[in-house]
């Protein structure tokens, strides 16, 4: 028995793999043909193989759970999502353009603030931003770049057009899952990798290394690069260890570092103190230095801000970069691109209503049942209201929240998020909504991952893809049709 792909119906949503006339799209043709040729039992065998592989790679997750950690193995779907290389090329250019403009914007905010003087963005938006750091004013990090690693969430809606949903400029995570997803898929569907049309993704860690090395304040052949983790109890610890290992960098905790009398950062090694040049920090701004920020933080390094301000160490991302990772600022990004680059934005924003503006607020409050309401500074899908899926009670609660702190809320129309075929149970393939998080690197050069991390809302009809909210993931294939 085989799966009947003709019965697959995405209910009017744009589907990544299948057209409205139930035919595979060009980049997914080989994939769908291959999957259609598999018996249901064979397909199930592959699914179980993926599960076993994840167990093997993710032993750590189960172990944590048993000791009270919230981490768990995340659900993985074996059917990849495909995007044509031609489509991706456009998205890639758009992502580079966006991060370049955002970095110019952040640098401007901490220097002359021309963007405010020229009336592009209202002053109070920045002044009231939780992530604007006065400590960063006047600092000039290398290349004028503040956000070196950016995870931008893309969705496809309507006829398959890409939209930017948000930019994560603080400590974006998930890239290790992107790499692991490919490793699993290669084991599960090896037949499909025989031709070269699926573009490889595994140069990410070496690009990350090069990007970080370029930030070194000392002009030496082998700069000391470290990954700073909050420690084993952080849910992304797996990723921190993975990236450190893949780059051959030291994985350090705050207590492994100290700032010397010369305002340089050192790590405590068996040979004595060793100077550190670049810190890829996976700790939020407010915890990196108890002297500068939260005095109770035990995760950070006293004096780290001082060392950074003097240019003795590079921090990626730079403190204060999060000011552009604000959903109110997000609404201004198209203007920001035009202002700094004198170019039209290649990637579109989702229409956004700012509750800060009385007129727009009025509209939002009248349409809570149709809109998605998001807090300006949360990540991980927390504190959101998805209007069409909400109760009257939820809506009343959000109306109060918005009125008491309008600056902190934005609203967007409910998007018709694209779907992709997902193996739900044995022999059952159904559409599920998904998004895409590519990772963009910028220092001396700019680099975009080939595709990114595809996250899937595993619950039927759900639009929330965050792993903390029951989302899963699948491999992302950028398929080069011209190479065939």
């Amino acid at each position: 028995m085989k799966v009947n792909w003709k019965e697959y119906d995405s209910n009017d949503f744009f589907d990544e793999l299948i057209t409205e006339s139930q035919e595979p799209r060009a980049p997914s043709k080989k994939l769908v043909n291959y999957l259609s040729s598999l018996e249901v039992d064979e397909l199930e065998k592959r699914r179980l193989m993926a599960e076993a592989t994840i167990q093997e790679m993710g032993v750590s997750f189960t172990v944590y759970t048993e000791e009270g950690n919230i981490d768990r193995a995340w659900p993985f779907d074996i059917i990849p999502r495909t995007i044509s290389a031609a489509d991706w090329k456009i998205a890639e250019a758009g992502l580079k353009q966006r991060l370049t403009a955002l970095n110019l914007f952040i640098n401007d905010l901490y220097h002359d603030q021309n963007v405010i003087k020229d009336g592009i963005i209202p002053e109070h938006i920045i002044k009231d931003s939780k992530n604007f750091r006065p400590e960063c004013v006047g600092i000039s990090p290398p290349f004028g770049v503040w956000a070196h690693i950016c995870g931008t969430d893309l969705v496809r809606a309507g006829e398959g057009q890409f939209y930017v949903l948000e930019d994560n400029l603080r400590v974006p995570s998930g890239v290790s899952y992107m790499l692991e997803n490919r490793a699993i898929t290669k084991r599960v569907l090896p037949e499909l990798f025989e031709n070269d049309t699926i573009l490889p993704i595994d140069d990410y860690t070496s690009k990350l290394f090069d990007m970080l090395a370029a930030l070194s304040p000392r002009n030496i052949e082998v700069p000391e690069i470290v990954v700073l983790t909050p420690g084993i109890f952080n849910s992304a610890y797996f990723e921190h260890a993975f990236l450190a290992q893949q780059m051959g960098a030291e994985l350090v905790e705050g207590s492994d570092l100290f700032v010397g009398d010369d305002d340089c950062v050192y790590m405590k090694t068996i040979a004595g103190p060793e100077r550190v040049d670049v810190i890829y920090r996976r700790i939020d701004d407010l915890f990196i230095d108890p002297e500068a920020f939260d005095p109770n933080s035990v995760l950070g390094v006293p004096g780290l801000m001082r060392a950074w301000q003097k240019g003795n160490v590079a921090l990626a991302n730079a403190p204060g970069a999060g000011v552009a990772d604000d959903k109110v600022v997000y609404a201004y990004v198209p203007e920001i691109i035009k202002y700094y680059l004198n170019e039209e934005p290649i990637l579109a924003n989702v229409e956004t209503f700012l509750c800060d503006d009385p007129e727009q607020r009025e509209y939002v409050l009248d349409n809570l049942d149709k809109l998605v309401i998001k807090p300006a500074n949360e990540s991980g899908g927390y504190g959101m209201l998805v209007g069409p899926h909400s109760t009257k009670k939820d809506q009343a609660l959000f109306a109060d929240l918005i009125k008491s702190n309008p600056r902190n809320y934005i609203a967007q129309p409910t998007l018709k998020l694209s779907t992709s075929p997902t193996l739900i149970s044995k022999g059952v393939i159904e559409p599920r909504h998904l998004d895409l998080r590519p990772f963009i690197l910028q220092s001396k050069d700019t680099y975009v991952t080939t595709g990114g991390l595809t996250r899937v809302a595993m619950k039927k009809g759900s639009l929330v893809v965050n792993s903390s909210q029951g989302g899963g993931s699948k491999d992302t294939w950028i398929v080069d049709l011209e190479a065939e």
Binding site: V59, I232, Q245, V252, E253, D256, G260, K268, T269, I270
Partner: protein, 315 residues
């Protein structure tokens, strides 16, 4: 290499060695009790004495019987040196140093931990004890084999060697001490009968039986066994061999002067053993001195490489 990572690697190696040693000790003890001659009485409680944890034992148990001793040695979470506690310590240390050890180490220690926890009752009850302990020893050897076969001989490896050999030399002195004390507890006649059984078991507990046979090539006696386990330059569990391994390791690490000094003191300590009569209280004192020296060595290792004072200089 980060001091914190070095410290965790050192302790991982110590605890892996400890797990294997516990399994070996219990296994040999088990075996010996069946072979004891008439009139010789040896209690399981000696195992608790070997490990120097009599006080803790009495806090937890009233009766010094087989079941309680084995519970205490293998399962007891309040005993930081029990088998399960030691495996847990290996896991905790490896978990946070996964980036410097071979990738499969984490999976192997997890497997060992799961097996030990699920089957711990087999170790406590008699019928499956042998199988259980063998699996544990094999699990430790698999991990050590993985490390030996795939780790670069860089600083990380030197800390594996240090941890393993500190623990191992300590255990060898303890086993010898326990054997001598057993002998001294018995009168002339029983002592002779006991010696027949005891010394070959001591060798077996260290996996040294065949090596001894090939190297010493005479019958087994207390004096010769003691000499072999203390001084043989080729057998990897002899005290002397452990010290030599550590000398090589320390010389590959930066500023290990104080550790070298304490190793030299240890290497120079010597005790003349010619006949089994020499295995007396004085010999026990000598072993005690050795153990104190090993404790000093371990604390010098900590001070040289793991502790950092506020000014940021290695202490």
């Amino acid at each position: 290499m980060l001091s914190r990572v070095a410290e965790r690697i050192y302790w991982s190696a110590r605890y892996i060695e400890r797990v294997e040693n516990i399994a070996r000790l219990v296994s040999v003890y088990d075996n010996m009790l069946y072979d004891l001659p008439k009139g010789v009485d040896i209690s399981w409680y000696n195992l608790v004495e070997i490990n120097g944890s009599t006080e803790l034992f009495h806090e937890r148990y009233k009766v010094q019987d087989e079941k309680n001793v084995l519970k205490f040695m293998l399962e007891d979470a309040t005993n930081s040196s029990s088998m399960l506690s030691s495996i847990k310590m290996v896991r905790e240390n490896i978990r946070t140093t996964r980036d410097v050890v071979p990738e499969a180490t984490w999976e192997l220690i997890n497997e060992l931990d799961i097996y030990a926890r699920q089957n711990i009752k087999k170790g406590i009850n008699r019928s499956d004890r042998h199988t259980f302990l063998n699996r544990i020893i094999e699990g430790c050897q698999t991990i050590n084999g993985l490390l030996a076969g795939t780790m670069s001989r860089d600083a990380t490896w030197q800390f594996v060697l240090l941890g393993r050999n500190v623990e191992r030399s300590d255990m060898t002195t303890r086993v010898l001490d326990a054997a001598v004390s057993l002998m001294l507890q018995h009168q002339e006649e029983e002592r002779l009968a006991l010696a027949q059984v005891l010394w070959s078991k001591v060798l077996k507990s260290q996996g040294a039986y065949l090596n001894y046979r090939r190297t010493v090539r005479t019958s087994i006696s207390g004096a010769k066994v003691a000499k072999f386990l203390l001084n043989d330059p080729y057998f990897p569990r002899s005290v002397s061999f452990c010290f030599s391994e550590m000398l090589v390791a320390v010389n590959k690490l930066p500023h290990g002067e104080s550790v070298l000094d304490s190793l030299k003191v240890l290497k120079e300590m010597d005790f003349e053993v010619t006949t089994s009569d020499d295995l007396d209280e004085e010999f026990r004192n000598y072993l005690n001195e050795l153990q104190i020296g090993i404790i000093q060595l371990s604390s010098n290792i900590t001070e040289s490489w793991f502790s950092f004072d506020k000014e940021g200089e290695a202490a």
